[in-house]
């Protein structure tokens, strides 16, 4: 008669605490410290305007994804952050400012070299230098004049461990970087970027040339890195943005359409354009 009184398998405490419900989603997380602040930015390539009045606050130590169809300006904005657009003759900034650590990066007081050390970049097509793995990683330090072998050795090990590549290459540090597989090359480029200890890492479609296994290794690496670095990743791959990022920004035709927590964008975007893009109805 008392068989129904047997204990249930899971023994919840008599007063089980209220389970954590996902916090109400905020549009852009105002409570986080901001690493990069873009204010009303206009950007031109020659006569055509690539970015229109873009304002966005990128939070520190999180992964922010930029998504949008081709030509929407996401790569342009990314390359503004470390002023790689300076390499293009016809590119120029119009109104607006980009502030990193509170400093306007286009101000004449700012040394572009120092900026680029603080803001590292990983490119779409992995571009390891045709030097040895060791020299690839120490390149960033050697151009600063650091030649102490001990320091360089330490940095090489630290960076390769940080990029989850140490175990795979520790026995062949002095072989050419070009001898690695595609995924390893990209991780080598990431190791090279983190060797100079930037605070921000920009990634321009880092996995677009990689197979799924290499892609998942790089994505896992991004998750490991985000605690120490602010990461901004441009991607065409919706699932990648969903898997990797904490915040997502959707761009279209040079304008920022929506910027919010990734969960919100992917479950209930506020703008119809965003929804149409991520469900594949256009773009």
């Amino acid at each position: 008669m008392n068989s129904y009184a047997t204990e249930p398998r899971m023994k919840p405490p008599e007063t089980a605490p209220m389970p954590q419900i996902a916090a109400a989603v905020e549009s852009d997380d105002q409570t986080q410290p901001t690493m990069i602040e873009v204010e009303k930015l206009d950007f031109y390539y020659g006569k055509s305007q690539a970015l229109h009045d873009v304002s966005i606050k990128i939070p520190a130590n999180k992964v922010t994804a930029f998504i949008g169809p081709s030509g929407c300006g996401k790569s342009t904005l990314l390359r503004c952050f470390n002023r790689m657009n300076d390499l293009v003759d016809v590119a120029r900034i119009g109104n607006g400012q980009i502030r990193i650590h509170g400093v306007d990066i286009h101000h004449s007081d700012v040394d572009v070299i120092a900026l680029r050390r603080q803001v590292g970049m990983v490119f779409q097509k992995s571009n390891p230098f045709p030097k040895s793995i060791y020299e690839n990683i120490t390149y960033g330090l050697q151009i600063q004049g650091i030649t102490d072998r001990k320091i360089l050795d330490e940095v090489v090990e630290k960076s390769l461990r940080g990029a989850a590549l140490w175990d795979e290459v520790k026995d062949r540090l002095h072989t050419s970087g070009l001898g690695l597989s595609g995924g390893q090359q990209q991780r080598l480029c990431i190791a090279r970027a983190i060797a100079v200890e930037p605070s921000i890492i920009l990634m321009d479609e880092p996995c677009s040339a990689l197979d799924p296994i290499a892609t998942s290794k790089v994505e896992e690496l991004i998750q490991q890195l985000k605690g120490k670095f602010t990461i901004v990743i441009v991607t065409h791959n919706m699932q990648q943005a969903g898997r990797c990022s904490d915040q997502t920004a959707f761009f279209y035709l040079g304008k920022l359409i929506e910027f919010a927590k990734t969960e919100k964008i992917f479950t209930n975007p506020a703008q119809k354009q965003t929804e149409d893009y991520i469900t594949g109805r256009f773009g």
Partner: protein, 223 residues
């Protein structure tokens, strides 16, 4: 797959198990409140029910977030669908438990109509079915699920028999109507619990085998 995303899937499973544990507990407390005629147990059941409701919302939130951000396929995709449905069924079971508790409180204000034999028997079967369906989910055991579905018939038959018996009580003596109706409601609630446990078993089968066995009459023949 890396550990990070496995964790998210593991969390969904954990929340489901938490919810099932709370539901089983509530059901068992409600039955004890009925049989031992203890109103305090019935109050506890009503209070705990809101937790279970919140868990259903939470699990659905986790499921849709995972689906939207990861686009799962194959077993992971089936897990999303079945997790949502299992949590829904568990919530309904918990609601039935609350109903039993309320009816028990009313029944406790009057003396017993007749010794409780059938209802605890039904309840024991229904609780076993619930427990086993959760075991099947945890162990990934679709054969157990099929077996559970077969037991639903016995609960249904006890329920029918009890309805006949209580109807005759009510006809003989109109003063017993209130208690009889309450007992009928309790029996109906337990029969609903068994149905929901059957649903959970069907979902577990679908999760593991990828075959949809809902509404298969042949499976319900056994006893």
């Amino acid at each position: 797959m890396s550990q990070f995303w496995e964790q998210q899937l593991a969390e969904i499973r954990e929340q489901l198990l938490l919810m099932s544990g709370l539901t089983e507990r509530n059901l068992s407390l409600a039955m004890r409140g009925l049989v031992e005629r203890d109103d305090k147990l019935c109050d506890t059941v009503e209070v705990e029910d809101s937790q279970i409701d919140q868990l259903e919302i939470h699990i659905d939130d986790l499921v849709i977030t995972y689906m939207a951000t990861h686009g799962p396929i194959a077993r992971d995709c089936r897990l999303m669908l079945t997790a949502s449905k299992i949590s829904n069924n568990l919530e309904r079971i918990a609601d039935q438990a609350t109903k039993i508790a309320r009816r028990a409180r009313e029944l406790n204000t009057e003396p017993l109509l007749k010794p409780l034999i059938d209802i605890p028997l039904m309840a024991e079967t229904a609780q076993e079915m619930l427990r086993d369906s959760i075991t099947a989910f945890v162990d990934g055991n679709p054969e157990l699920a099929v077996e559970i579905i077969a037991r639903d018939k016995s609960v249904d038959s006890i329920n029918k028999q009890l309805a006949r018996e209580l109807t005759s009580f009510m006809i003989e003596d109109p003063k017993t109507i209130t208690r009889a109706l309450n007992l009928l409601t309790v029996a109906k609630a337990i029969e609903r619990v068994a149905d929901h446990a059957t649903n959970i078993a069907e979902e577990v089968f679908y999760l593991n085998r990828g075959e949809d066995i809902r509404h298969e009459q042949s499976l319900k023949q056994g006893s």
